[in-house]
Symmetry: C2
């Protein structure tokens, strides 16, 4: 990895920071955040502005360029990568270390009095704007919105914003028509007496209209906004995508619908002016509902007294609770995914001893097997295929420089998943193709105990996921071990592999209570720097639990694993399991054998079936 040479780019950026063509008044500093205008976790190439200006292309980081300095804030996952990718025009600001200043403090310490700090108001979320603006103001500076993005202004060969064809999803996949989703949304709006709702997150637009796209890698979404009124629907989307007859039919654009279900298709770029028009047309006490993570530009379009901001939108919450069609689809997707992984592991078992399989080859092979399955669309994230010490790098992605060959002497960790038209998968298995050491087995077994403790947990309706996090760690803690990441995240239904508003983490965030139909991952791990990584991840569905008693009539919940891929018994130290845990593993493997076995049989994959049968022998 050699650093990107940014001297010329920074010179150009500093010019446009002073150019009346782009800024009303010169700005003494310019902030380049990570995100796009929808606060997406995964972004399109045209939105990788921070990577363009600095060279650093990790998933998290904020660049600030002043007349004299260029600085990059990122977290511990990326210290090494950022240091490698950036030239010495840049100062790396290591977030989380005691002596690292915040962006605000740093700006205040170096800016001349009365400075202006510019930022693209579409990229910065409103809450971040507020914090930054307040800090700067109290030190005599001003945060100013710069309408034209200054990186775009100097980015000669900036890729075009993707505008790929749309996929329509029928009721068989979604269970609920977009029309019924609009009705439900409007009833939530009526409950809160808020007549307008602005859909800003890409997965929320996609979910609401039962459409999918491929504008962003791994996330089947498309660039769009929507404004939903009590009797109007505006969809902001570009291109001739809505000229596709299937899409027109799906959205009933040419039908004579009741006016309140008639979708007006409006250019993507006109969201701001249209929203401002809504804002000026409001009568007293009418409010506009927005996510509190929406961009500053859109939030600001509505006068402060008329904003109704919530951390989770009603769509985010409705989307998290999967209906029967969606859970059926997720089950199907996970069966296909398991078939692909049985093929892969069977193949690896034969090939690894030959010394010819690298991390990249294994990842490609996994994709190949998945792509053979019906309704396969793409991967759901970049495959983490890591062996030996690479397994300890939690967000590892093999590249030629780090690519390691799998062997019978090292633990192999594969965290991978796919988008199928009927569901999204995300599964991690940790395997040994030779003979694991007693210590490796011991650690694996603690992780497994944690995995089971969450998966088999019974808890009252209304419990928040973060209250389950310690169950996953207890066995590790007993021996002085731990892992430094959360235990689970929400998973979309043929949508983003990470979604809110629920999760399982020691970090107390404002998660919504778990309820039946929600889908999360269960993925404890253990990592030994320089040696190996272990993680066992299933996607699990929240389901009602039968209990002996029923306190206050609240009802109880538990999890059903959707992922049905054998957990390598060779890695288990059975002596460390309780009888209950042993039974859990045997029951789980019995189910894998039945369900995945039948599908392997149906697909005529006999060798993989034999592998499955071997791997699901009772403990």
């Amino acid at each position: 990895m050699s650093p990107k040479i940014t001297t010329e780019l920074l010179k150009q950026l500093r010019q446009v920071m002073k150019s009346p063509k782009y800024v009303q008044e010169p700005v003494q500093a310019y902030i380049v955040p990570s995100g796009d205008a929808h606060q997406s976790e995964y972004i399109a190439p045209c939105d990788c502005r921070r990577a363009f200006i600095s060279g650093f292309d990790g998933s998290a980081g904020t660049a600030i360029v002043t007349e004299q300095h260029a600085a990059m804030w990122t977290d511990g996952r990326y210290f090494l990568q950022a240091a490698h990718q950036m030239d010495n025009n840049w100062t790396l600001m290591k977030m989380g270390l005691k002596d690292t200043p915040t962006q605000e403090d740093w700006l205040v310490s170096i800016l001349p009095e009365g400075s202006k700090v510019g930022v693209d108001p579409f990229i910065i979320p409103a809450d971040q704007w507020k914090r930054m603006s307040k800090a700067l103001k109290s030190a005599g500076h001003d945060l100013v919105p710069v309408k034209e993005n200054l990186i775009d202004a100097i980015w000669a060969d900036c890729p075009q914003r993707p505008c790929k064809p749309l996929i329509t999803l029928d009721l068989g996949y979604t269970g609920v028509s977009w029309r019924d989703k609009i009705v439900a949304l409007r009833s939530k709006m009526a409950e809160r007496k808020v007549p307008w709702f602005v859909v800003t997150a890409l997965d929320e637009v996609a979910w609401l209209f039962n459409l999918r796209g491929s504008d962003v890698e791994y996330n089947p979404v498309f660039f769009a906004y929507a404004i939903i009124g009590m009797s109007t629907i505006r969809l902001f989307i570009d291109g001739d995508r809505v000229m596709d007859p299937a899409v027109r039919e799906h959205l009933q654009l040419d039908s004579s619908l009741e006016p309140e279900f008639k979708i007006q298709v409006v250019p993507y770029g006109s969201i701001l002016t249209e929203l401002q028009a809504v804002g000026t047309g409001l009568s007293l006490k009418e409010k506009v509902w927005l996510s509190d993570k929406a961009s500053y530009a859109l939030t600001e379009a509505i006068p402060k007294a008329y904003r109704y901001l919530t951390p989770y939108t009603p769509i985010c919450i409705a989307k998290a609770v999967k209906n029967a069609s969606e859970t059926d689809g997720m089950r199907r997707a996970h069966i296909k995914d398991a078939v692909a992984l049985c093929e892969l592991f069977n193949w690896l078992e034969k090939e690894v001893p030959k010394g010819t399989v690298t991390e990249i080859i294994a990842a490609d092979k996994a994709e190949e097997f998945r792509s053979q399955q019906e309704d396969f669309v793409e991967l759901s994230f970049a495959t983490i295929s890591s062996t030996g010490p690479n397994g300890a790098i939690i967000h590892y992605k093999p590249v030629p420089e780090t690519n390691r060959t799998l062997s019978v002497n090292e633990i192999y960790l594969l965290d991978s998943g796919a988008q199928y038209k009927d569901g999204t998968t995300d599964v991690t298995r940790t395997m040994h193709f030779g003979t694991p050491s007693a210590y490796e087995k011991e650690c694996f077994t603690y992780v497994l105990k944690g995995h089971i403790a969450v998966s088999a947990a019974i808890f009252p309706n209304g419990t928040k996921g973060h209250l389950l996090d310690s169950f996953a760690r207890s066995a590790l803690w007993d021996c002085g071990l731990d892992y430094l990441h959360g235990t689970g995240h929400g998973v979309g239904s043929f949508l983003n592999v990470h979604e809110g508003p629920c999760g399982i983490s020691y970090k107390t965030f404002a998660d919504e209570p778990l309820e039946a139909g929600m889908i999360v991952s269960d993925e404890p791990g253990y990592y030994e720097d320089g040696s190996f990584g272990i993680r066992i991840e299933n996607v699990v569905l929240v389901i009602p639990a039968e209990t002996k008693y029923n306190f206050k009539n609240r009802g109880s919940l538990t999890f059903e694993p959707l992922t049905l891929v054998p957990i390598q018994t060779k890695m288990i130290d059975v002596n460390l399991l309780t009888q209950k845990e042993c039974n859990w593993v045997n029951d789980y493997h019995q189910k894998c054998r039945e369900v995945i076995g039948a599908e392997l049989e149906r697909q005529g994959r006999h060798e993989a079936l034999q592998w499955l049968v071997r791997e699901t022998e009772p403990l």
Copy 2:
């Protein structure tokens, strides 16, 4: 319980709300919060203003009186009690119910335009003031500080503010001199570059100066404030208490100390003017450190730009970590407390079958046995002595109207504790003096499993207590049961039985990480309305844990029970315990027998010793 007749009192209050003698301009509403000027949980009789004006004397509640209305906000624990104690001048506002308006919303809905709402600025915490003031202002009203308390103005026979003698604690009890505590505090102040610190909480003043008082029942504190500068110490305290030679000697008031350790004794009532003088004397960038829960009056004394507010003060955090002298003291106190309870339970076992022991008699007997122990000062809270259905009322305190007779047919729950000069105790035991039903034993055993799960938990250094809460519930959850309170609170060392900044609760509050030397309670329960209550509570000390491995060199922690009182084995369904849990009970009882047995022997309490030996037979 007959309600207090408040017609005349409300008439008088409404008069002073308009009287120029008390208010600059008439106030249309007057707020009477629960607390005192130190935001204490337990308050002195002279501070029970809300009880005086309304009749309702529960621990939580806020009264608001307008020209037309009188309303009381309280939570679910007190709906019944408040309804019984208040006459029909009052409207009960049931907090937590969906249709109950907030105080702000209610005021806005009934006040005439441009109203003034008064409150005593010493009683309302600054954060509450801010919220209330903002809401009123946005509706065109004003929250105004009324310097003279209007309840005091009409409270003819208001009790005097207590001014009881002080107790000095020597190094044998405290481990650290007040002088060294000042040095440590100043170093924390220097770290944050804050040259002034205001001590507003009563237990923090008491801890800092190694003094105790008895101005408030159950809490060995005294009315005082302190302002600590980098080279000055001001103690605000009334009466001739500091004329006591022992106190003068302890505080070295008559010695020729270095000036920075010379304590200036100032009248309690002059805190505001002295603090204002500090505020006006500040130079640029000098700040004053206050708890963000300090009163509005004191917070407002410092100009906004000069305030340094934190949720936990450095004293609160230092006080929570007990040193060797304090933990030794706590151990001694718990041994004496256990002796008293062995005597009590032995006595109850003999007396209960006679049908002559009521809840009140049992509570009094517990106090009698405790008072026989060395260095006993008082109880640490009102004894919860409850049998049968009364046990399900979590904050029950027996009064003649509810007083029930203990019998061999009902479960008895005793939650009690005491202040000894060497430590504070808080213990709950649930007993059956006849034959418990299988169901009662089952529930008791789940609670016990939860108690053990917390007590025996091993967790990394830096873990927050709220991450342990689910361990206490897991066994109950498995059967569909739960309890609706937190699992543990911090405990002071001959100080308040409830103290911050740590605890064990499902409510995510800003608790500080647990560290060795902290002391918390471990008290899961199960309550069946109308039938019985079960709770098993020990006070436990956070200690380093030995573990097989040591991830990232972080070290691990666990708990050592300080409470050493047998857990009734008759109530345990041994079949529901794992071998590990069984061993825990046997080891715990072995330790009770050794430690408490030796002390019973020493005190010549042979019958209680026999009881202890019987009750600590291995399972």
